[in-house]
Amino acid sequence: MAGIELRNINKIYGNSFHALHDLSFDIKDGEFMVFVGPSGCGKSTALRMIAGLESISSGELKIDDRLVNDVDPKERDIAMVFQSYALYPHKTVRENIAFPLLMAGLPKAEIDSRVNEAARILELTTLLDRKPALLSGGQRQRVAMGRAIVRKPAAFLMDEPLSNLDAKLRVQMRAEIASLQRKLNVTTIYVTHDQVEAMTMGDRVAVMKGGVLQQVDTPQNLYKRPDNVFVAAFIGSPSMNLYEAVLNGRTLTLGSNSFEIPDRVFEGRPSLNGASNRQVIVGIRPEHMNDAAIRPSSAEISAPVTLVEALGSESMVHLNIDASWVDAGDPDAVADIGAEKAAVARFSPKSTIRAGDIARVAVDAEELHFFEPDTRTSIR
């Protein structure tokens, strides 16, 4: 087991594409760290550099306090699970799982008992003599896991290991991997583009965008205190609603709506005190907008309803807020939002609001997020 330390890591590919910029953070011994971000942001690159499959252009990589920049993958004592599983097609499940032990030169009896143990943990015992081609996607995923855990390595690296599974199996495997990691207590780096996976699995989550680390923190802190607009919008589903707004004293003007901000908001953000005509980006989570007819509030806005998605336990209400919508810069999100750029509010299922109505929306003003319009960083 080992901690992993990244110091100002840069990656410049052969075609002079600068894929990673000054990546720095620590992963503690036994920690489950998730790299998350839109596709192409450099997650796999970072992971492959830690694995030793990709060279480090500059910076320092330490595993267990040892500088490993130029150490061969096989000397790093790290196991990796690939997105495609990369099972050896000519070997049986047993031979696949045994392969790293064979390469390590373990005695046969030891190999047998470890393979059987891993197979038992992953419920692969009955499949040990099959070739990978005869396995289902979920079973292949387990074999890939088995090949990783059998070695008892210093760390696991996993690159989107669940993305080839169907949605139901993905949720199941998500829980299994997380609990397996807790049981084995091996330092793990897990790459995904799915923020739900990141939030549910990680002890800490590193959010990346365009080769730049945005924020590393626990899932709760990322959700409660995002450092910038990108993290605010990327974490959470549906996304945080982000609009340009103007603050005058304690009055926030959002398009044609205005409401008062409670004192508590200013306590944590001294720079907003005594604002006059201060431009801000305001962020409102969907759950902080409710039907004012059910839960009245001192801060209310009204907006036309374009769509209501009744999910039973809650209703997703799409609102056409007449303030200027802020693009958080998540390339994957554009497709979801489309041209509508609607705000989404999470109403109680008791709400009787319907598309076409003008909704009176109670805003939980204490829970608002504020960002600088130019730097897009959080105002604290």
């Binding site: 694995a51 499959l53 993958p73 096989k74 990796m80 495609s84 050896y88 390469m103 081609a133 090949r147």
Partner: protein, 278 residues
């Protein structure tokens, strides 16, 4: 299931077309077989007959008892096998490196190999003759092997790189994570996966050398003549020995058929390589 039992018009047409195609390939060979088992005297009868009136193996007896043909067969076999081995030893590692560690230079290398195939062998024959003469390999087995290898390697390179292209890069990476050096990853993981591809390449290389006529004609004279040269000579030295020639040609085609059948499983595996990926 039901479709099979009710032949459709398009099905009949496709089968008819396939039959015509197969016959157009097979008929000359069948005619060769038929001719080879006719008595020598019947071979040139006018009008010619397709089927032999009497079956006789006198043509085969003649070529097998001749002083030249058995020796030529051994030469051909030796040259083809050595060429195959040498070509694979060069092409398999080279194609692997060119595809797995793709750089501009490796792409250029593969293209260049292709370009050398465009130069007609007639124009390469004379320089090759001079080269081999200057190093004393003219009219020797190693000399002809070298010449055939130079012709076979580009083809082998292209075939092998197509097969390696089909091997996911992650397999090598997984092997390296599992404790292999790059060479161990190649030998323990990649090579076993690619055996079908190697079999196909070996077959094509073997056939290239086995069938090669021009270099063999230019670069060998007495002791190392290969079978195609000797077979062609039936047509000149003693006049027209059609019967002996057809028998020799039938014998000449046997090794290729045998090798193809022997490697059939690997060849089908090699040609349907995509299935391995899963």
């Amino acid at each position: 299931m039901h479709r099979v039992s009710r032949p459709s018009v398009s099905g009949i047409l496709i089968n008819a077309a396939a039959l015509v195609l197969v016959l157009s390939y097979a008929l000359p060979y069948i005619y060769l077989l038929m001719t080879s088992i006719k008595p020598a005297a019947d071979v040139q009868q006018i009008p010619p007959s397709f089927f032999p009136a009497v079956i006789s193996f006198e043509n085969f007896r003649e070529v097998l008892q001749s002083s030249t043909l058995p020796k030529a067969f051994i030469n051909s076999l030796t040259v083809a096998m050595l060429t195959t081995a040498l070509s694979l030893m060069v092409a398999v590692p080279a194609a692997y490196v060119a595809t797995q560690y793709r750089r501009r230079i490796t792409t250029f290398f593969l293209l260049f190999a292709l370009v050398t195939r465009m130069v007609p062998s007639v124009s390469l024959g004379v320089p090759l003759f001079q080269l081999l003469k200057s190093i004393g390999l003219l009219d020797t087995i190693p000399g002809l092997v070298l010449a055939h290898t130079s012709a076979a390697v580009p083809l082998a390179l292209l075939l092998m790189s197509a097969f390696f292209e089909g091997v996911p890069k992650e397999l090598e990476e997984a092997a390296r994570m599992d404790g292999c050096t790059r060479f161990q990853a190649f030998r323990k993981i990649i090579l076993p996966i690619i055996t079908g591809g190697i079999a196909v390449t070996a077959l094509f290389t073997f056939i290239t050398s086995w069938n090669e006529f021009l270099y063999a004609l230019l670069l060998t004279s007495e002791s190392t003549k290969t079978a195609p040269i000797v077979i062609a000579e039936y047509n000149s030295v003693y006049g027209l020995a059609w019967g002996a020639m057809t028998a020799a040609a039938v014998l000449y085609s046997l090794p290729v058929i045998i090798v193809t059948l022997a490697l059939q499983k690997q060849i089908v595996g090699g040609l349907t390589f995509g299935a391995v990926k899963g």
